[in-house]
Assembly symmetry: C2
Homo-oligomer: 243 residues x 2
Amino acid sequence: MEVDLPAFNSALSSGKSVILSCNCSVYYSGRAESFLAGGDRIIIIKSDSTLLIHQPHGSTPVNYMKEGSSHTLLKDASKLILSSSNLQQKEYLRINISKIHSLQVLDLADSQKIQLTGSEKDMADMIYNNPALIGSDFKPLSREEHTRYGFIDVFGYDKSNTLVVVECKRYTADLKAVDQLQRYVKKIRQLKGLQKVRGIIAAPKISPNALQLLHDHGFEFRSVSPPKYLEKFDRQQQKLDGF
Amino acid sequence: MEVDLPAFNSALSSGKSVILSCNCSVYYSGRAESFLAGGDRIIIIKSDSTLLIHQPHGSTPVNYMKEGSSHTLLKDASKLILSSSNLQQKEYLRINISKIHSLQVLDLADSQKIQLTGSEKDMADMIYNNPALIGSDFKPLSREEHTRYGFIDVFGYDKSNTLVVVECKRYTADLKAVDQLQRYVKKIRQLKGLQKVRGIIAAPKISPNALQLLHDHGFEFRSVSPPKYLEKFDRQQQKLDGF
DNA sequence: GGGGAGAGATGCCGC
DNA sequence: GCGGCATTTCTCCCC
């Protein structure tokens, strides 16, 4: 397949998107360094200059360049080279192309933002609005309380006026989650000059080692799952999408 | 653009890769839920059944399905719908396509694995081989020491036979890095019945709050950067790629 | 398969 | 810009 180099490069600089399938090898140098020997890949260059190289398997790009890079396709002794650089970030990528399978230049328009529910923040909101999920006597004070040592998902107190720090996880709570809770509780104790501050992890489940560590700290676990708004979304979808 | 549905679906089931550019809206339900209103996107279905939906900006796919999903393109009352599901993981995706811009079916072959240097493990190796980076009296005992509560990057002792735990970070060390170090040191003290075990973070730099927390724990910081093997890679590249 | 941790993580928000 | 942290994180490795 022949490529019109000037047309390709002018498409890149005019905000078009490019999809290229080819056999290539890839060399990268920047934050780290990598080499990928020859094989068939899909290369996408987006209108914001993001470049992605995908192998025919897996979810993540094998190599990439972030927004703000510049790309040039050039011929060097009959070999096709796609060269990318980001001088500010000192990132460099070179793709040696041995055969082009397909090439599209597209003008894509998309101003939409994804709407997502079921995040950890939604979990914190749910607990704030339904404090009984933590305990019948739990009274929430704040969400996303920002401190210099991180921010606390839900902060409140119980019937004996003991302060309670709640850390939410949408997945299985692990050692890191307990670390995080421990850091917040320790800081609150220090700030308020209190000996007793309760720490609670709210998550669907917790790993055995994390539970051990949790108990070592004298903290508690509550099984809570992130909220789903399927019905709300189905209604929204019908409205927006005409289903 | 007209699409041959049976041909498309048989391509999907025969290990081909598909690249589709279209105007579409996307609905997802699974671990979370999302809706994305209409716009131009690039959809890739890989031969391992991974599906990616990319907007014309950003590095990460706006929606996706992982390996092991099944995809079907179907026509419902003159509307084109690409439906994906993963019954085991209870993940579902529906793409409502209003216009197809381009479509490729490709047979891609790639058995290569990327070779990468400059990772945290390379840093740990470097420190193990050049212990003076930590201290003139540091004697390393092990790398990647696996324990039930996590694994220690570099483990050793100093001239007074005090055990030393080193945690490497290839980027700016943050609060989480200090948490992690603190968990390891605490566990080693517990296991060995020791009062004094030193904790050291080796990283290019450390955030002010993390440094404060580090000092609160009585730990230390060493400025160390991840190694680069540009020369080694250039040699390798010349050999493998014929540059 | 679960647990633990890194990633060239990316992206978001707050200061 | 940095800092702190979630992510439908993903990926790898070890048990």
